[in-house]
Subunit: 224 residues, 2 copies
């Protein structure tokens, strides 16, 4: 009873003529259908293909970047959220084969499932068309994200985390030092520390704001 | 003052004629030399190349294995310890270029450095000879480990961990339930649990023995 795969809609997404169509059916089949094989083995493979291609792209694109910064970029680019975003950009959700319950639960919009399916499709492309077919897919769908990563103004907390990673330091830790002021105007003071590199403090009207300000303060004091 | 790379000794290890010898010098250069570039960027790349090639090899080798089991195999095969073991097998240590202090501290025998350099060499092979040069290196040096992984009698605790991973469960947790007996003959009782799958208990003459017996007991009760 599971719907067949709409290869007409899939075509422009993968931009590849399947030799073994069954691989792409598998990549779009969630375990909830009860059908085997589901996408999990292809996702396992595609995850590593994506990691390698992205490492290669970043290596070439940032010839001076330290290993820590490239790792931070890579982790952001290949995160489940990034993969799911790409699935949403190309409207992959309706093509995913789910069991009735999973579909009723909104599975075609689930970040986990969407991200998994993108990786499984990369695995299928790799098996069906070799590393170059997988690479073309990744270059095409990730182009904007890669362009953006080195330019976008980043959230100070993300920027600080990457700054620490680029120096092979542990991730920054945020500690709440205290609250002050009347209930309707509470002020939160937070300290951020990167072991071995320094500390900074800031106060804001929420914990989140204080952390953001502390990160910005740290960057201001330690970078030019 | 850092020694040049002994390409005569490196030849049989990489089984590849370098087009760009500088890549292999870089792969063998530790940061302690003060020379740039050191191996870190190549290690970043090689780590992902190794992951992808290994995923591909496991995918083909174990056509029925669940994703969780393949992940457990992969993590074991590409661990720093595995990479370092391969470095030791081919006597890579003496070829690594270290600063004097790092050398005096035994850096050529360090598991971290040896493992890093194997990954960096894979990165250099990938850049110099493409995915096939890297793949040949991995297939040749990892052949015995891959053969062994599905056959070797494993430690019951490892086996149980992989069994749980193959079912996408959390890692088993071991809880000490108590000690009993006289001081010269203490008995330790331990419970192992895999959330959602079951529990087992066992008693032994040390914590480690009790855990091993509990894992074996769990496997006996839950597998055929």
């Amino acid at each position: 009873m599971t719907a067949p795969v709409d290869f007409t809609a899939l075509g422009p997404i993968i931009d590849h003529e399947p030799r073994d169509a069954a691989l792409f059916v598998q990549a779009l089949t969630h375990g909830s259908t009860g059908q085997t094989p589901d996408y999990q083995r292809l996702e396992f493979l595609g995850d590593r293909v994506l990691g390698m291609v992205m490492a290669d792209l970043l290596y070439a694109r940032f010839p001076k970047a330290a290993e820590g910064l490239m790792s931070a970029f890579l982790n952001r680019l290949v995160s489940r959220e990034s993969c799911a975003q790409i699935a949403r950009n190309c409207n992959l959700g309706p093509l995913i084969r789910l069991g009735k319950q999973a579909r009723d639960d909104g599975g075609t919009g689930s970040t986990n499932i969407l991200g998994d399916v993108v990786e499984a499709l990369i695995g299928a492309l790799y098996l069906d068309g070799g590393i170059n077919a997988a690479r073309r897919f990744i270059e095409r769908h990730w182009a904007d994200k890669i362009d953006a990563i080195s330019e976008a103004p980043r959230h100070p907390k993300s920027e600080l985390q990457e700054w620490a990673a680029a120096r092979n330091r542990k991730t920054p830790t945020y500690t709440m030092l205290g609250k002050s002021g009347p209930d309707h105007d509470l002020r939160f003071t937070v300290r951020v520390e990167i072991k071995g590199l320094g500390v900074a403090e800031a106060t804001g009207s929420s914990k989140q704001e204080a952390e953001t300000l502390a990160a910005r303060q740290f960057l201001a004091e330690h970078t030019t």
